[in-house]
Symmetry: C2
Subunit: 236 residues, 2 copies
DNA sequence: GCAAAAATGATAGTATAACTATCAAAAAAA
DNA sequence: TTTTTTTGATAGTTATACTATCATTTTTGC
C-alpha cells in the first residue's frame, strides 16, 4: 500500500492550484530543479517554460510572479516539515526526544526512518531544502512583508515555528522566549548550513568532500547545545 | 576637537572610491536613505541619480551595480560596528562586560555613550542599521557567493564575527563553537528585530508604538540568555 | 593662471526581464 | 458532442540594467 500525503496549500499562494494539473505539477517540480540550480535571481519564467516545453504566459496563469513561486515553495516546505514532525513525534512522550527529532529534521537527517511516508515522492526534497537554505529569507525580506503576511502567506512558517515553541514549552513551561528560540533555531540551522558550505570562516565546521556527514553532526551538536543550554538555564 | 574616523574600505568593493568625491559621498548617503525607504529590490540607480541630481551613468562609474552598492554598505556597517566594539571594549578586562557591550551595540543601544566619536557624522546609522536588518543577507545569499568571497567582499563581516568569537574564547577558552555562536548571534539579533517589527508571531516581543524600547530590552535579554547560557553550559 | 587630465553631464541606445493581451487549438467536462 | 476550460503561439509594453559616446566642467600639476 502506498501513501500519498497531500499538502493542501493556502489559495492565496497561487492563481491556479498547481497540484491540480499536469502542467502545474511540472511547474513545481522543474521550478524546484531550476531554482536549486541557478538560484532565485537567475530563475525566470521563460527559462522554466522552456524547460517544461511550455510557455511563459502559461506559468503566469499559475503564479503572479517568481517571488510568489518562491513563497509557495517555501510554504510547501514548512508544511511538509511540520507533517514530518507530527509524524515522527507522534508516539513520543518525552519532549526532549521530540526536540531531538526536530533538530535532526531541520538538517534533513533520519528522513528515511521506517514508516515515514515521504509525501509526494516526486518532490525533490533535497533540492527544495537547498532552496530553503539559500532563498527562504527572500520570501519575507521584502517591502511587501506586511501585505503578504495579511494574506497569510507565511502561515506555514509561523505554524511550524509555533509547533516547535509548544514543544519547547512542554519541555519547560516557564521558558519565556519559546517562539523566539524556535524561530532562531530554524534560522540558525539554515544559516549555519549555508555558511558551512560557502563562508566556512563564519562557522566552526568545515565541509571537505570526505568528512561531510561528520561536520553535519557537529552542526547538529551545536544546535542541540544552543537549544538545551538555553532551556536548562534557570535565571532569565 | 573633532574626530573623523574614516573607514578604509577594500578596493574591490567599488570601481571608484565614493569617499573621495562629493558625488561619491552623495551616492552613499542618499543611497542609504533610498534603500532604507524603498528596500533593495525597488532601489534603482536611476531613482538614486534623480535624488542626487546626477545621472545613472555617473553612479555606474562608482559601483558595478546595485548589489555591489549593497555589499559596500553592509561592509561599511560591519567595519563601523567593529570600530565601535574596539572603542567601547578598550579599557575593559572582564570579557563578560565586553560581550554585554557587543549585545547592546548589535541592537544599536548606548551609541551615545560619552567619548565615542561617531565616525562620519553624516552617515545615517539608523537608516543603515535598518538596511542591514532587512537586506544584509542578500549580500551573500547569491549565486556568486564564492566568487565574491574570493574578492574579500565579506571580510568586514568575517572580521567582526572573528572578533566576537575571540572575546567568546576569552570568556570561555574551551568553548568549541565560538565562531558559529558569534555568527548566529549577529543573525539572530537582526532577524529577531525584523520579526519583531513585521512578523511578531515569530517572536515573543511585541512592538507597539508605546513600549518599543521596553520590548527591545526584552530582545536584549533573550540574546543575553542565549549567549551566556550556551557559554556557561559545560557538557558539550 | 594655464594646459592636461580626470570627472561628470547629457543623451542615446541595447538586451532582457517582467509582465499583459489576444486568439486559435487542444483537452476536459457536461 | 457541445460547452467550458486550459494551453499554445505570438506579439507587444514597460521598466530595468546596463554600455557607449562626446561635450562640458572640474581638478590637478606645473
Amino acid at each position: 500500500m502506498e501513501y500519498k500525503v497531500l499538502v493542501r496549500m493556502n489559495e492565496k499562494l497561487f492563481l491556479r492550484d498547481p497540484e491540480n494539473s499536469e502542467l502545474g505539477r511540472r511547474i513545481i517540480q522543474q521550478g524546484i530543479q531550476l531554482m536549486a540550480e541557478v538560484g532565485f535571481e537567475d530563475t525566470t519564467f521563460r527559462k522554466l517554460a522552456d524547460r517544461i516545453n511550455s510557455k511563459e504566459a502559461s506559468i503566469y496563469r499559475y503564479f503572479e510572479n517568481k517571488h510568489r513561486l518562491l513563497v509557495y515553495l517555501v510554504a510547501w516546505y514548512w508544511q511538509w516539515l511540520e507533517y514530518q514532525v507530527v509524524f515522527q513525534t507522534n508516539n513520543l512522550i518525552d519532549p526532549r526526544e521530540k526536540l531531538e527529532r526536530i533538530l535532526k529534521l531541520l538538517l534533513l537527517k533520519d528522513l528515511t526512518r521506517p514508516n515515514v511516508p515521504t509525501p509526494t515522492d516526486d518532490t525533490n526534497i533535497l533540492a527544495l531544502h537547498s532552496i530553503v537554505i539559500r532563498e527562504a529569507s527572500k520570501a519575507y525580506l521584502t517591502h511587501h512583508v506586511t501585505e503578504h503576511n495579511k494574506q497569510q502567506l507565511f502561515k506555514p512558517h509561523k505554524d511550524f515555528c509555533g509547533r516547535v515553541a509548544d514543544i519547547i514549552l512542554e519541555y519547560r513551561p516557564d521558558y519565556p522566549y519559546a517562539r523566539s528560540l524556535a524561530s532562531s533555531l530554524l534560522e540558525t540551522a539554515h544559516h549555519q548550513a549555508f555558511f558551512m558550505q560557502y563562508l566556512p570562516s563564519l562557522t566552526d565546521f568545515g565541509t571537505g568532500p570526505d568528512n561531510q556527514s561528520n561536520e553535519e553532526d557537529r552542526l547538529l551538536n551545536f544546535l542541540r547545545h544552543l537549544l538545551f543550554s538555553s532551556l536548562e538555564t534557570t535565571n532569565f
